[in-house]
Symmetry: none
Subunit: 128 residues, 4 copies
DNA sequence: GTGGTCTAGACCACA
DNA sequence: GTGGTCTAGACCACG
């Protein structure tokens, strides 16, 4: 599995699942149409509560990243628009760095670095 | 005042205060040395509790954005380094957009737009 | 329990908790991984307020001595670096003794004595 | 003057005065018998409140570092024993470092360094 | 008047 | 059950 749950993290488990699924999609490891493990499967694999996984999947569906089907389980779908709060969160993050006197160039470099990694992994996944 | 509190938001009030103060610093509205309203003052102005404001100010101080003084209140101070989780949060945000099939160029454009606004406002504040 | 709260002390209660937990870690009574009592539990045990304990735990977490988990409570974790003011506080303390005409040798002996006790207790805890 | 007041510090002003007078004594800059500036003088020099200086002097007298006389002002006297809380504060400080996995040798080295500086300055003052 | 500390009691998110 | 957040009201230290 591609998931890495840190039970000690300050980030809620369902958010860890959500974020990592999204990163998996971004990096091309989970292209559209891919089936995600069933809720029971995933919960069993990591020894976490069904409700926790359910909450993550439900959130991912509401955000348009996956589609939940009876029996078939969860399927990745790439569609939808950026969430309402995305821009706000980005602005908060940019402000945090800018207020620390980090230059715009340096901040953009950080962004580019991350995006570059996604692109590189994407390419790799497609070729394999 | 520069603050805009949404009592119904899912984001904790003390985080709203923190984020908006940081944005104020980033945009130059709150240059180093500026005095922030006292804890009691701000609490009264927005009809929120003293402890909530205190928590926000305490957090801002620990993160190096302001300095709390016994008698003078809170004063803006730019120093310190980026928080440990800044890069993680940025990566999660970038992934979210990339997974939505938004191109790298478009994402970077979003960042640049925000940073550009900060720079423009900064310039404006300095000239006035 | 290992704690000893003096309600009448000039030292704030949350600082008493903090210092004693740190001493517990130093002496090996609280090795990494040990679970601390929950906030509510500790507050109830000593008849103090939940928020006071919360403040102590929050401080200990920020200083890297413990880790707060949603469900499991507080767990000891040794990491992080010395606080910024440690050296200043040490210097003030050394000056106080030196100004009383206590010899350097005697002062160092005090330090060694304390450190020796920590080491001895540490050894004891490990062997048991 | 030998004093350096930081109005922004988290440490109360009267404590800054106290600590620096003690350091002055420890380093030999203020040998026994030296007259300290009058309360009014010191308050005027630093633009601080009379009560604040008074509080510092009062504390220093109660701790046995100086002697307050009518008209004559404050005179340094080296005598008295270590304060009741000195050992406790030292123990807390040692614990803080030891709990961070700093070795006893390294901690002692810190202490020796500070004491060595006092001794060196002391010698210098006596020779001059 | 400022921030710092403590108490009392409440609701929510997480698992 | 855990910690996280918010409210309300109190007293103290500092200057």
């Amino acid at each position: 599995m591609f998931l890495m749950i840190e039970i000690d993290s300050d980030k809620p488990i369902y958010m860890q699942i959500r974020d990592q699924v999204i990163e998996g999609i971004a990096s091309g490891q989970l292209p559209a149409g891919t089936s995600l493990p069933s809720i029971r499967q995933l919960a069993a694999d990591f020894g976490i509560n069904l409700h926790t996984v359910n909450k993550a999947y439900d959130l991912l569906e509401r955000e348009g990243f996956i589609q939940l089907r009876r029996k078939t389980g969860a399927v990745v779908q790439v569609s939808g628009t950026l969430s309402d709060t995305w821009n706000e969160r980005l602005q908060a993050l940019m402000a945090e760095a800018y207020a620390k006197d980090v230059s715009s160039a340096e901040i953009l470099q950080h962004c580019q670095l991350i995006l570059g990694e996604f692109a590189a992994q994407h390419k790799l996944s497609n070729n394999s």
